[in-house]
Each structure stands twice: as structure tokens, then as C-alpha cells.
């Protein structure tokens, strides 16, 4: 089946079975390899992307139901040649990136959080991250990065 998707503002057409996970389409058909396949069962958040105005686990989303709303991935949060997004910058700055496997998902979740709540406390950051597993950092540095990015974004406004 042929499906039309809007990904990071571009129209894309793919020819795959309808139950193919969106994650496989992004990685294998569209060469967008930011989102990672950590668990493939909705538990780790490494595959987090945005569909319309909400974050979703793309490993569990059949491509057939991803056609009605725009999709954005980590590749779309900053312009290809531009500076990093403040969330990405803060993750690097605060030591929130080690192996990097969880990072694309962390970025998507944190961007989503900071849009909804520009001034979160550490507890709301932790709650927002309940679906994103990191095996390296112990989370503290990611929480710090979120608070620091929030401050940077507030200042920029």
C-alpha cells in the first residue's frame, strides 16, 4: 500500500504494508535514523516522535494510522545547518548524553514538555520522562539539562 506522510514539513510517499511500525518507515524508507529501536514494544521511549501535538512511541504506531497528522522527528527540531535546539545544547552541556541511544527520544519528550510547561520543576521533568529509559546517565544530568534548557528558552523569549 502507498501512504502519504508529512515528516518534518516534507511530504513523503512510501509503499509499505499498513501495519509496518512508523519507526521502521522513518529509519528504513526515509533514512531518518535519529529515532532508535530500543525495545520495539513501547517501553523505552528511544523511538519517540511527535504526531500532531503529542509524543508517540513510533515502534508501536502502524504507519496506516500516521497519515492524518504531521510527524516531527529529532531531525526536525533544529535546521540542518543551524545551531542545535536549546534542549540538545543543554543535554550536551550538562552531560546528559553518554552513549546517545536514548537521546533522540529524550529530546522529543523534553521539547514537548517545555512547550506545554515553560517553567517545570524537577519533579514534573521526572514525571514527563517516565516513558524514556536511559541506561547510562542515571537521569540526574538529563533533569538538570531540562531545567537549564527551560531557563534558556524563557530567556530567549
Amino acid at each position: 500500500m502507498s501512504y502519504e506522510l508529512s515528516v518534518n514539513g516534507r511530504r513523503e510517499s512510501v509503499d509499505v504494508p499498513g501495519m509496518t511500525p512508523l519507526l521502521d518507515v522513518l529509519r528504513d524508507e526515509l533514512s531518518l535514523r535519529g529515532a532508535k529501536k530500543g525495545c520495539a514494544e513501547g517501553r523505552c521511549g528511544a523511538c519517540t516522535v511527535r504526531l500532531g501535538d503529542r509524543t508517540v512511541a513510533s515502534c508501536l504506531l502502524p504507519v496506516a494510522v500516521a497519515t492524518d497528522e504531521p510527524i516531527s522527528t529529532v531531525e526536525g527540531v533544529a535546521a540542518p545547518d543551524g545551531p542545535l535546539h536549546p534542549v540538545q545544547e543543554a543535554l550536551l552541556e550538562c552531560g546528559g548524553v553518554q552513549c546517545g541511544a536514548c537521546t533522540p527520544g529524550m529530546v522529543m519528550t523534553l521539547c514537548d514538555l517545555l512547550e506545554a510547561d515553560p517553567d517545570p520543576d524537577a519533579q514534573s521533568v521526572r514525571q514527563a520522562l517516565v516513558g524514556n529509559i536511559c541506561r547510562c546517565t542515571g537521569y540526574h544530568k538529563i533533569v538538570e539539562a531540562a531545567l537549564s534548557a527551560a531557563a534558556a528558552l524563557r530567556e530567549a523569549r
Binding site: 500500500m1 504494508p17 499498513g18 501495519m19 509496518t20 511500525p21 514494544e41 513501547g42 517501553r43 521511549g45 519517540t48 504526531l51 503529542r54 509524543t55 508517540v56 512511541a57 515502534c59 508501536l60 504506531l61 502502524p62 496506516a64 494510522v65 492524518d68 519528550t109 514525571q127 514527563a128 517516565v130 516513558g131
Partner: protein, 291 residues
Amino acid sequence: MSIVLTRPEVRHASSVEEAVGWLAELGAGAAPLAGGTWVMRAEQRGEPLTQTYVALGRVPELRAVTGTDPVVVGALTTHTALAGLAGPPALDALRQAAHHSAFPQVRNVATLGGNIGARGFVEADLVPALLALEARLVLAGPDGRATVDLTNYLADRDARPAGEIIVAAELPVATTRRSGYARLTVRGGGEYAIASVAISVDAAADGTVTDARVAVGSVEPLARRCPAAEAALRGAPLSAVTARAAGAAAAAECSPRSGLDAPGWYRTAVLPGLFERAATRAGHDVVTTEA
């Protein structure tokens, strides 16, 4: 169960009648598709996919939330939307159950209808909350529409007629009604519940509980009402003491299942504590506190 020879096909229905028509025609070779968070893990559970999925996402009627008493919640309402559902305190247990289930990325797509329709999903959080709220389901099938008690639906969930879908849940919301939900997980949030408890009570002006509905999830293979626990709550104001006594009564009437996460005895041993927590939350908007 059918054997899949080709990769499953997805058809988008544009109305309830179209979905019902296709599902009836295709019989065992087809199933509804809502958020897909259960269906997409079928192979991990060792269950084959069916040949055709009928996607319900483009049926506007299934997304609607209407009415004031009962509040009628469309089957495609997501856990995230349910956590923020408008309406009186009678609905608190459902809001709390939706908020504490799974993770944001899953709550944003998983639906009410999918939670009820997921056969074999022992730990579903919405189901016990809906049982305590005395939800009735609006069903559509080849012979038209019907409304049934959720209890009756669950009793033969594994043998529902081909072509039937859940359209909505009707939730009665008497103003005297308060409800609360509590679940226990090994770590904090984002896990399946070892046991879960939903309590819904009607109280007289002096606080005396005149009627109670209690449901326990994840303890037996299917969430259930607990009549002995309900009786234990009637006749006195809701308190930690009455809630614990009701929890003990529920523990005595349940036959707990054992699993990798917990042995059976443990699931019932934690019930008094969970009953107390659910009672504390009844009538309080504690959706933002931890699991």
C-alpha cells in the same frame, strides 16, 4: 485463530456502520484497530496478527464525549484525554486510572475501547475503574445497537459476535457519588499494576455510605467487582478503617493469580493498603500526584 499468509492489510472505516459491515463480512480474519498499542505487540505475546485490521480512527462519532448524566465517552478517547475528562467527582477514579497507566507516549494513543477490547490484558487500568463507575457499553453490530453492562460484556469478551464494536461507554455521575483509584507497581510509574483498586461510593448528607461499588484489577485473570467489600463499606462514613476492612473482605473473596511480578498471596495481601489509598483519593483531584 487465523494464519497470516500475507502481511496484514489496514482498511480505514469512515463510519460505525462501515466498520461493522467490513468486520461482519471478514469474520475471524479481521479485527478493529484503535491506538494499536496492544495489537502491535501481538507477536511478542505469541499471538498471530489477523489478516485485516479495520482502523476506527477516522470515525468522528467514536471520538465524541457528550452528555452530562450519563457522560458518554467515545471508544477512541485516549488515556490522556480521559485523565483530563471534564465532569463531576464521580469520574475521579477513571481520571486517576487513566493518568497512572503506562507512559505519556502510550497514553497519548491508547484508547478506552482498546483497553476494554484487549483480550487477555489482565492489568488493564481503565477496566476496574469503569466497573466501579457502573459503566454501560454502547455496542454496534450487524443487528444494530445495544447497551450492555460492562460486567456482562467482560463475562464473554472472548466470544463476542463478529462485526461488533464498542462505540462508547456511558458513565452515570450522580452528584452524591465520589470515586478513587489506586494501583501498586514494583517501581514508581510506567509499569503494569500488581493489583489495582477502584472505589465508588454514594454518601448521605452526614457522610454515611449508602451504596458502594468496588472493583479489583490485576488480581484475578479478569478485573471483577467485589460484593463483600462493597457490603463492608456501607453504613458508615468512608474512612481508613472501613476501607481496610473492605480490602480484607476483597482479599478473602478473590482467587489471586501468580505471575513473575508477584505471587498470588502478595496481590491480595496488599489490598487493604490499596483500598485505603483509593478511599483517600475518592473525591479528590489527585491526578497529579505519583502512582
